[in-house]
Amino acid sequence: MSLLRLCLLMLLVLALAAVVAVSLGETPFTLAQYAQALSHPASPPGEVLWTIRAPRVAVAALVGAALGLSGATMQGLLRNPLADPGVLGVSAVSGLGAAVAISAGLAVLPGAIELAALVGALVAGAMVVVLAARFREPEALILFGVALSAFGGALTALVFNLSPSPVATAEILAWLMGSVENRDWHDALRALVPMAIGAALCFRAGQGLRMLTLGEEAARMSGLPMARLRVYAVAGSALLTGAGVAAAGVIGFVGLAAPHLVRALVKDDPKRILWPSALAGALLLVLADLAARLIPTEQELKLGVVTALFGAPAFALLAWRASRSWRS
């Protein structure tokens, strides 16, 4: 299957999933109400569909796409099928940035929390690159990711500990669990700018990621400017992750799982995997959010909780399979 055809097919599936996700929700509608929502967007059912559900689905799709693309780029750069913004600690440090901003009372400044999340992601991304250059073994890098993640978590716990008010604590907690509840079109638009820049950087890195298949020295000797590639890939995926955390909080495992869903369809190619990974991430998160809304629980499930519940076992499965390529 050609890449274009694969992407069109995935786009179609994503569109279908989005239609279902906008249609279904906590409040069931009759056919007449759906018709009313379509003909009169300002009617009560129209309000529910177009100003509550649709932007929520849009944010879920954007964040999913950002995480999927970010994961695929990191896996390519680090030549490691287990790399992902969550596993490497980028999400945790980004979440820490947001937590510090909330606790410092910066929430009143528009865009401050988002900026803090972005800065956190970029700092963690830079650390990952330094560690990756120093320690070539994939296992070592994952261990550092675990450490960075744990340290980010510990500092976030410290923020909780010292938090001045229970309100701030609750707000941080909600952020860390990840959710696209109550997002409006403004949130979607705000996320779009850093995500577009990040995506452009990742796509520019595509050819370099493919050349890295044979290792850094072979790629450099084939004419790859390695330093530039690192900057593109890391800044790109950190921007995507940071924008995702800014829009929806910390959501794990999508960046890890999305590339693996499409890996076989693109013959493992780190360049061609980028677009399909973004689409797969979008699809995963739209479906996960739909599940979070539809699973009947007293309190609505948080999106990050749903992805982690499904993602953690998937991670174990991937680790099992990935060990194959490390042996040779």
């Binding site: 298949t213 044979l214 020295e217 450099r220 084939s222 493992d268 194959r324």
Partner: protein, 251 residues
């Protein structure tokens, strides 16, 4: 004869340790140069320093007469192809895509055609669509050799290209590299098998403790004295109808 690779008094450090000291070497078109030496002697460092993969603390390296420091990465790629010792492949790409990795200057179609041609030359045409991680070590080595040939560079440098290969595959690898030399290229290989080196190289460079200690035609470079001092072997190369053979025992 034009010099494709020149090292002049090259010294390189890796961390605090000097891994190469005052190495001078000239490689011209039409020759196979074998670099030999004990483990850790500095064979790989010699290649890496001469390619700009290790920072030099003294001396200069040139490719086709141009100072390495002045070459942009893609200009350097046109002058030299490199097969690193590390044969790990991160992703299970089909062989034709791996071979095409060194043809990034070409559009997709001609790059793919070149990849298939190079795979055929190394006798791996039937592996073209197979994932490289699904192959045996020998098959993968052939695909990586095809990738080296696809660079079309006048100077081909291979770090232990025959490590882990069976005798037939070892001879095939060196025959293929010789064929490139017959077409006007120059080849530099590091080898551990001294018999193989003596048979297939026009010139041998012996490295020990980060220094080039001998250089010349096989019989001269692998003298009884060098075998004893560098390799701690008691013996010599003897001529046989099939070529020179190392007859030696531990000193």
């Amino acid at each position: 004869m034009s010099a494709l690779w020149t090292l002049e008094g090259v010294t390189a450090r890796q961390g605090p340790k000097t891994v190469l000291e005052a190495a001078s070497l000239t490689v011209a078109a039409g020759e196979v140069v074998g670099v030999v030496g004990p483990n850790g002697a500095g064979k790989t460092s010699l290649l890496r320093a001469g390619l700009g993969l290790l920072p030099l603390t003294a001396g200069e390296a040139r490719l086709s007469g141009k100072a390495l420091a002045d070459l942009k990465p893609d200009d350097r790629a046109k002058l030299v192809g490199y097969l690193p010792q590390d044969r790990r492949v991160a992703w299970n790409l089909p062989a034709r895509m791996v071979a095409a990795l060194s043809a990034t200057d070409l559009a997709h179609e001609p790059a793919d055609a070149l990849a298939l041609e190079c795979l055929a030359r190394v006798g791996a045409a039937e592996l073209a669509d197979r994932g490289v991680l699904d192959m045996s070590g020998g098959e993968r080595a052939r695909v990586l050799l095809a990738r080296l040939l696809a660079t079309r560079a006048p100077l081909l440098i291979a770090d232990e290209p025959v490590a882990g290969l069976d005798p037939d595959a070892q001879l095939l690898t060196l025959d293929l590299l010789r064929a490139e030399v017959a077409k006007g290229a120059a080849v530099v290989v590091t080898l551990h098998d001294l018999t193989l080196a003596a048979r297939s190289c026009d010139r041998i460079v012996v490295v020990d403790h980060g220094r080039i200690v001998a250089e010349g035609p096989p019989r001269a470079a692998l003298s009884r004295d060098i075998l004893g001092r560098v390799f701690r072997l008691d013996g010599e190369l003897i001529e046989t109808p099939a070529g020179p053979v190392l007859a030696a025992r531990r000193a």
